[in-house]
Amino acid sequence: MAAIACMAAASDPSERLADPAQEARARDLFKEVRCLVCQNESIDDSEAALAHDLRLLVRDQVKQGRSDAEIRAFLTQRYGEFVLLKPPFSAGNAVLWLTPLGVLLIGGGLMVALLRRRRTAQAEPEALSADEEARLERLLKGE
C-alpha cells in the first residue's frame, strides 16, 4: 500500500542541487538510503514526507562537501544501521557479506574432492549397466 504514497519524487526539480556533479552524487547516495517509514524503498523512490526530508538532509551534506562515508556515518548515527540499504562490512555483517564467496568455495572444494576421488577409483562401474539400460527401456515403453 505504501507504494501508492511513496512514488518516485527524487528528481523533483524543486529539490535539486545547482551543481550537476553534486546532484548526481546525491542521487547515488539516495539509492543506498532507506525510506524509514515506507515498506521497503530507498529515499530515491519514495514520495513520503520523511524521504523528502532525508533527501534535503543528504543534499545539504553533499553541498557542504562531506564525503560519502561521512554522510553514511552521519545517517547511521542518527537513525541506526537500519537506514542503510547496503549493510556496512562489519563483524556483525561478516556472515552476510562472505556467504556468496563461502558457498562458492565450499562448492568448489566439494567438486575438486569429487573429481579426485573419481580419479583414484577408476574401477567404479558405469552409471547404467546394460541390464539397467534395458530395464529403463522397458519401463519407458510402459511395461
Binding site: 501508492i4 518516485a8 556467504t99 552409471a127
Partner: protein, 660 residues
C-alpha cells in the same frame, strides 16, 4: 446456495485428499494396483471438487455477493469484470485456494499422465502429493476459508487494492502458482523415489518434464510480475530485490539448477543425491515463499495478503512437509550410488559448476532476504539489506555463471576437449567483444562495465548460435545435410539453444537499460515542454475523466523527435479510487522498437503566473523490452524442450524414428 455448494466442495476436496493419501500409500505398501487406482481416483476427485469450490468463489466475485466475507473485503460492484474475477485470487484466502487448486491439479495430472511410471513409484508420488494437499487444504478450510459468510453483509464491498487492478497482475498469480506449486510434483517424486530407495536415471527422466513445466511457468509468472512493477509502480524499475520478489526468485534459481543436474543424472547417472536434494529444495523454497509473502515477517513493497497469525500455521506446514522430505533424504542419501565418472573438463563438470554458482546465488538471496530477521534475533540490531547489497553480491556470481555457460553444451560428456570448445567458440567471443567495444565507443555516456555486460549478453547469444551451428554442421556441410540435421535435432536441443539465447537477450536489456536510461522531471503547465534523450515532450492538455470505479486526471503529452516528427501521444493518468481513498498513477508507455518512452504525471500544483502545473516525469528506457522478452524466450525454450520429452515419453518409437 452456490457458495454453500462451493464450501461443501472444498471440504469434500480435503476428505478426498485424505483418501488419496491413505489409499495411494496403502497401494504403494501392499503393491496393490486396485488400492493405488482408487488413490488416483481420489486425486481426480479432489481436483474436481476444488475446481467446483474455486468456480463458486469466482461466481461469488462476479455476482458481487457481499455476504461472502472475502468478496466484501476485496470486491466492489463498480469494478470491471476482469478484476472481479481476478479478485478471487487477490487476497490471502483466495490465493491459498488457487494454490490448492494448482496442487490438486498437478496431483490429478500425475494420476492421469503417469501410466508409464513404475506403479509403486507412481502410487507413492500420488500419496505424497495427496499429503501436501491435506496440509494446505486443512489450512484453507480451518484457518483461511475464502467462502465463509458474513452474518451481517454490507451493501457495498471494500474493493480490491487499485494497484492490483491491472491485466498483468490479474494473470500473474495463476502463472506464478502454476510454477511455484509445479515443484510440488517434483517434491512428491523425490520423496517417492527416496521411499523406494532408488534415485537413478529413470527418476531424472520422470522428474525433468515436471521441472521444465514448473520452471517455465514460473519464469512467465515472474516476468509478468516484473512487467507489472515496471509500469504500475511508476518509477521505471522492474526489479527491487524486495523480499516478495526474492521469494519467487529462489525457487526459480533452484529449479534452474535442478533442470541441469537432472540432465546429468539422466544421461550419465551421476549426482543422484544432489539432484534429489534440489528436487526437495525447490518446493521447500516455494513454501518458504508462500510463508514469507503472507506472514508479514518481512516488510515489502508488494505484500498484499499479509496475516501474521496465520503465518505461524504456514510455517508449521512448511516444517512438516520439508522436514519429512529432508528426513527421508537423510535416511536414504548414504545408500545412493555415486554414479558415473567424469573428467575435470567435461559437460558434467560444467553443469556441476552451474549448480555451485546457482546454489551460491540462492544462498545469497536467501541470506540477504532473511538477514534482517537474523540480526534482529541475534543482537536486536535492525538492519536493512537492499538492492545495493544484492547488486554487489549477486551480479558477480551471475557474471561468472554466464561467462562459462556457452562452453557447457559444447563439451562432451565424460571427457571434453577444451581446445575443441575454443575452436568452436572463438568467433562468438570475438563478435561479442567487437560489439561490446562498439557500444563502448558509440554510446554516450561512455560506460565500461555496462559495455562488458553487453559483451556477456552477445557472448551468450553467439555461444548459443555457435552450438546450434555445430550441431547442424552449418558452413561445413552441404546445405541439404544442414537442413536434414536441423530437422533431426531433438526438440530438447532447440530448447537449450533458445533458452540460453533468451538469457542473453535479458542480459543485453538489463545492462543497457540500467546503464543508459535517462530521466527528467519538471513541473509543466499546459503548453510546457521538456527535452529528453533526443525527444521533445509537450504537455498539450490536461483533462479529467471518469473511469468505471475511479476519477482520473489525464495529461496529453505530445512526444516529438527533436527537429520535428510526432512520435506518439502519451496519456498518463493519475487515478483516484474513492472506495479506498487511494491514488495510483497510470504510466503512459510509448514503445519505440526495443525502447520505451515512459511518462508519468504527478499531482496538480501551483505553477508560474497562477497557472496550474503538473510534475511530469519522463524516462527513455533503452532496450527495456528485452528485459521482458528475454525471460519469455527462455520460457519458450523450456516449453519446446518439454514437447520433446512428451514425445519421447509418450510415443517412444516415433521419436526414435525421427532421430534415426
Amino acid at each position: 446456495m452456490i457458495v454453500e455448494f462451493g464450501a461443501f466442495a472444498l471440504v469434500l476436496a480435503l476428505a478426498l485428499s485424505v483418501a488419496q493419501t491413505g489409499l495411494s500409500a496403502a497401494g504403494g505398501l501392499r503393491r496393490s494396483g486396485a488400492l493405488a487406482g482408487a488413490g488416483r481416483g481420489a486425486a481426480l476427485g479432489a481436483f474436481a471438487a476444488l475446481a467446483c469450490a474455486f468456480a463458486a468463489l469466482i461466481y461469488a466475485f462476479v455476482t458481487s455477493d457481499f455476504s461472502v466475507a472475502n468478496v466484501a473485503a476485496n470486491s466492489h460492484t463498480a469494478k470491471p469484470l476482469l478484476y472481479k474475477v481476478a479478485g478471487a485470487w487477490g487476497s490471502h484466502e483466495g490465493s491459498m485456494l488457487l494454490w490448492c487448486l494448482v496442487l490438486t491439479g498437478y496431483g490429478a495430472a500425475v494420476a492421469v499422465f503417469g501410466e508409464r511410471l513404475p506403479p509403486r513409484l507412481r502410487a507413492w508420488a500420488v500419496a505424497v502429493q495427496g499429503a501436501l494437499g491435506v496440509l494446505f487444504l486443512a489450512y484453507t478450510v480451518f484457518a483461511s476459508n475464502p467462502l465463509a459468510r458474513l452474518a451481517d453483509p454490507p451493501v457495498e464491498g471494500r474493493s480490491l487494492n487499485p494497484l492490483l487492478q491491472d491485466w498483468a497482475l490479474a494473470v500473474h498469480p495463476p502463472f506464478l502458482y502454476a510454477g511455484y506449486v509445479g515443484f510440488s510434483v517434483v517434491f512428491s517424486f523425490a520423496v517417492a523415489a527416496l521411499i523406494e530407495g532408488k534415485v537413478d536415471a529413470a527418476f531424472a527422466r520422470w522428474v525433468r518434464p515436471w521441472t521444465l513445466a514448473a520452471w517455465s511457468l514460473l519464469t512467465v509468472g515472474i516476468t509478468l510480475g516484473a512487467f507489472w512493477a515496471y509500469y504500475e509502480l511508476g518509477w521505471g524499475g522492474w526489479w527491487f530485490w524486495d523480499p516478495v520478489e526474492n521469494a519467487s526468485f529462489m525457487p526459480w534459481l533452484i529449479g534452474a539448477a535442478l533442470l541441469h543436474s537432472a540432465i546429468v543424472l539422466e544421461k550419465r547417472g551421476a549426482l543422484p543425491g544432489w539432484t534429489v536434494f534440489l528436487a526437495l529444495a525447490a518446493f521447500g523454497f516455494s513454501m518458504l515463499g508462500a510463508f514469507l509473502v503472507r506472514s508479514g515477517v518481512l516488510t515489502s513493497v508488494h505484500a498484499f495478503a499479509v496475516d501474521p497469525t496465520r503465518g505461524v500455521l504456514l510455517l508449521s506446514i512448511m516444517g512438516i512437509a520439508a522436514g519429512f522430505g529432508f528426513l527421508m533424504f537423510a535416511i536414504r542419501a548414504p545408500s545412493l550410488n555415486a554414479g558415473g565418472l567424469f573428467a575435470p573438463v567435461s559437460r558434467e563438470s560444467a553443469i556441476v559448476l552451474n549448480n555451485i554458482i546457482l546454489s551460491a546465488a540462492t544462498a545469497t538471496v536467501l541470506l540477504g532476504t532473511l538477514y534482517p530477521l537474523i540480526r534482529e534475533a541475534m543482537d536486536g540490531e535492525a538492519v536493512s539489506v537492499g538492492p545495493p547489497f544484492f547488486n554487489l553480491t549477486f551480479t558477480p556470481l551471475l557474471v561468472l555463471a554466464l561467462a562459462i555457460l556457452p562452453a557447457g553444451p559444447l563439451l562432451a560428456w565424460k571427457r571434453g576437449d577444451a581446445r575443441l570448445v575454443v575452436r568452436r567458440l572463438w568467433l562468438a567471443l570475438l563478435v561479442a567483444a567487437i560489439l561490446g567495444l562498439a557500444a563502448y565507443a558509440v554510446v554516450t555516456p561512455r560506460k565500461a562495465l555496462a559495455s562488458l555486460g553487453l559483451v556477456l549478453g552477445f557472448w551468450l547469444i553467439g555461444g548459443a548460435l555457435a552450438e546450434l551451428a555445430e550441431r547442424v554442421k552449418a558452413f561445413r556441410a552441404p546445405w541439404a545435410e544442414v537442413r536434414r540435421r536441423a530437422g533431426g535435432l531433438p526438440r530438447g536441443a532447440w530448447g537449450t539453444t533458445i533458452a540460453h539465447a533468451g538469457l542473453g537477450l535479458f542480459v543485453l536489456g538489463a545492462c543497457f537499460e540500467t546503464a543508459w536510461k535517462v530521466e527528467t522531471a519538471q513541473a509543466l503547465s499546459v503548453g510546457g515542454r521538456i527535452e529528453l534523450g533526443g525527444y521533445v515532450l509537450t504537455l498539450t492538455d490536461v483533462g479529467t475523466l471518469e473511469g468505471p470505479n475511479y476519477l482520473a486526471e489525464r495529461g496529453i503529452v505530445r512526444i516529438e523527435k527533436q527537429g520535428g516528427g510526432l512520435v506518439c501521444t502519451a496519456q498518463p493518468e493519475r487515478r483516484f479510487f474513492p472506495t479506498g481513498g487511494q491514488t495510483t498513477s497510470e504510466v503512459a508507455l510509448c514503445p519505440r522498437g526495443l525502447d520505451d518512452l515512459y511518462v508519468v504525471i504527478g499531482e496538480r500544483r501551483a505553477g508560474a503566473n497562477d497557472q496550474p502545473a503538473w510534475l511530469v516525469r519522463a524516462y527513455v528506457n533503452p532496450w527495456v523490452r528485452l528485459i521482458f522478452l528475454g525471460p519469455l524466450v527462455m520460457a519458450l525454450g523450456g516449453a519446446i524442450s518439454l514437447s520433446d520429452r512428451r514425445l519421447r515419453m509418450g510415443v517412444a518409437r516415433k521419436a526414435k524414428g525421427a532421430q534415426a
